[in-house]
Structure formats: structure tokens, C-alpha cells
Amino acid sequence: MAPLKKVFIFDDNTDILELCTIILEDAGYEIKTSSTSNDIISQVNAYIPDLIFMDNWLPDVGGIDATKALKGDDVLKHIPVIYFSANNDVASLAEQAGADGYLSKPFDIADLEEIVSRHLA
């Protein structure tokens, strides 16, 4: 059996982390979560996910700088990053960060599953 595709979710909202973990594990993915962007390169290097969700208001450096750090790393820059935020301008924030896509909060289960399957197909 092929190994499960891995998704790393960064968000300071523990409710989002808990719910997304249940939903995506049910959908057949392996999930890791974190509530901080502290030492983001080490965190991601230790897991090497197939997809990353990045919240805008992520302590400590914020989602934009965390995403820029990942996209500036030769080993990790190929991993797609989905930016998610409740901000109205989530699309421009995602673009500013250099993310590969975005998801507006609040989202429903179908939205979440669709964007994951689209990037991990």
C-alpha cells in the first residue's frame, strides 16, 4: 500500500487544527499540526509534508514571513503552501507570501477536501 500523503497545518486556532485533523485523516491523509511559525524550516524539514496549510495570524513571525522562508529554502520550496485566513484580502496575502493557493475562512468540509485533493492529485 502506498504511504499516506502528508499535510502539515499551521494555525494558532486549536479548534481549526483539531477539526481539520479529523476531517483530513478521515479522508485518508496523514496530518501534523503546529501553532507556531517558530523555527519553521526545522519543523517542516522534520516532517517533509506533501502540502502545507499556513494561517495568516500565525505566531511568531506570521504566515507571510513563514511562507517566504519556506519558499526561499532550496529543499522545501517545491512543497505547495495553501494560505488560509478570514481576511477579505486572503488572495492578495497569499500572493504576497508566495503561496500556491488560498482558502478563505470560514470554509466547509467540501472546500477543504477539494483543495487538498486538487494539490495532491
Partner: protein, 195 residues
């Protein structure tokens, strides 16, 4: 208590995993409404009702202002509102001060429902990391209702049920695995008048 006419389940950290065990095993003809008050933050608004809805054939919906409580329906307290039970068995959403640092507060729902349903109310307090729900359970007991807690040894976070256990005369202490059967028995007792 007399026949149960309403059930309220309150919880905080570690309670979602209990609900995911309980809801799929509930009878589909539950004889009373269930109000679930779980501490949660903004931003995941639609996900919780949607997730729980997928685990049961009962109707699961977010509680709305002036909504009448109906048997067999599971109401989820929305984030950032206390859910109060009114004398006419409707719900009201309240944006007043946080209680126990929480909104929704379990105490607010337990206490208002206690006066309305009196000895026909059952309340279950699950896993959690603060004392919200403990004063509410005392109130439920004062009005003749039934106080149930998750076994602290069985809870992911024992603090909340432990506080209730030390301060309230608890009627039943249950493991998560036994909770659905207990609720179904309450429902069957009401349906067949055996309570």
C-alpha cells in the same frame, strides 16, 4: 428524575473525541432535544456542526435565536454566544460577558435549562480544562435534574469533570464508551414511560 425532556452536553478540551464516539451510536428516534455546548473559537464556525452531522442520522444544526427545541434534534452552540433556554422551550443567543473566560459558557445553558426543565433535565459534563459547567451542574441538582460527568480517568483533560465530582453530588459517572447507551436508555425510558 422524571422522564427526560432535554439533554445538555457541555465540554471543552478533549470533548470532541467523546462526541465523535457518542453521536454515531445514538438512537435515531431520540425522544428529546440535545444541546451541545463546546468551547470553541471563531474561525471554525461551520466545521463542527458539519463534522458532527456526518456522524449521525439525527439532525445536527447550529442553534439559532428563538429556535424551538425539538425532540431528536442536536443543537450546537455557536462560537461567541451563550445559548440560553427560555421558559417556552426556545433558545436565545446571548452576547453578554464571558463566563469562566468562555462564550459560549456551559454554566449559562445548564442554569437556564435547569429552571425550565427542572426534574426533566439531564446534563453531562465532559473533558475540559476549566471549571465552566460546575456551577451549572449544582444548579441542575438544586432544581431536581440529573448531573452526569465523564469519568475523569477516562477524560483526555480531567480537570473539568474532577471539579464537578468534588463540588457536586453527581448522579452518574460514565466512560465515553458507555455514554451513548446511557442516553439511549434515557430516551427509551421517556418513550415507554418506565422512568
Amino acid at each position: 428524575m422524571r422522564n427526560c425532556e432535554a439533554l445538555i452536553i457541555g465540554g471543552s478540551a478533549g470533548s470532541l473525541e467523546v462526541l465523535l464516539k457518542v453521536l454515531p451510536a445514538l438512537d435515531t428516534d431520540l425522544a428529546f432535544p440535545v444541546l451541545i455546548v463546546i468551547h470553541r473559537k471563531n474561525g471554525a464556525d461551520s466545521l463542527l456542526p458539519e463534522l458532527l452531522s456526518g456522524r449521525t442520522r439525527l439532525t445536527v444544526k447550529e442553534a439559532e435565536e428563538k429556535e424551538l427545541l425539538l425532540p431528536g434534534v442536536i443543537y450546537i452552540a455557536p462560537s461567541d454566544y451563550h445559548v440560553l433556554v427560555e421558559m417556552d422551550h426556545t433558545l436565545s443567543l446571548d452576547y453578554s460577558e464571558k463566563i469562566n473566560y468562555s462564550r459560549p459558557a456551559i454554566d449559562a445553558s445548564f442554569q437556564t435549562a435547569a429552571e425550565v426543565y427542572q426534574d426533566r433535565l439531564a446534563c453531562i459534563l465532559l473533558s475540559g480544562s476549566n471549571a465552566d459547567g460546575v456551577d451549572g451542574l449544582k444548579y441542575v441538582k438544586d432544581w431536581g435534574g440529573m448531573a452526569v460527568i465523564q469519568n475523569p480517568d477516562n477524560a483526555q483533560v480531567a480537570y473539568m469533570p474532577n471539579q464537578a465530582k468534588s463540588q457536586v453530588k453527581i448522579d452518574h459517572i460514565l466512560n465515553a464508551e458507555d455514554m451513548a447507551e446511557f442516553i439511549n436508555l434515557l430516551s427509551q425510558s421517556k418513550r415507554y414511560g418506565t422512568a
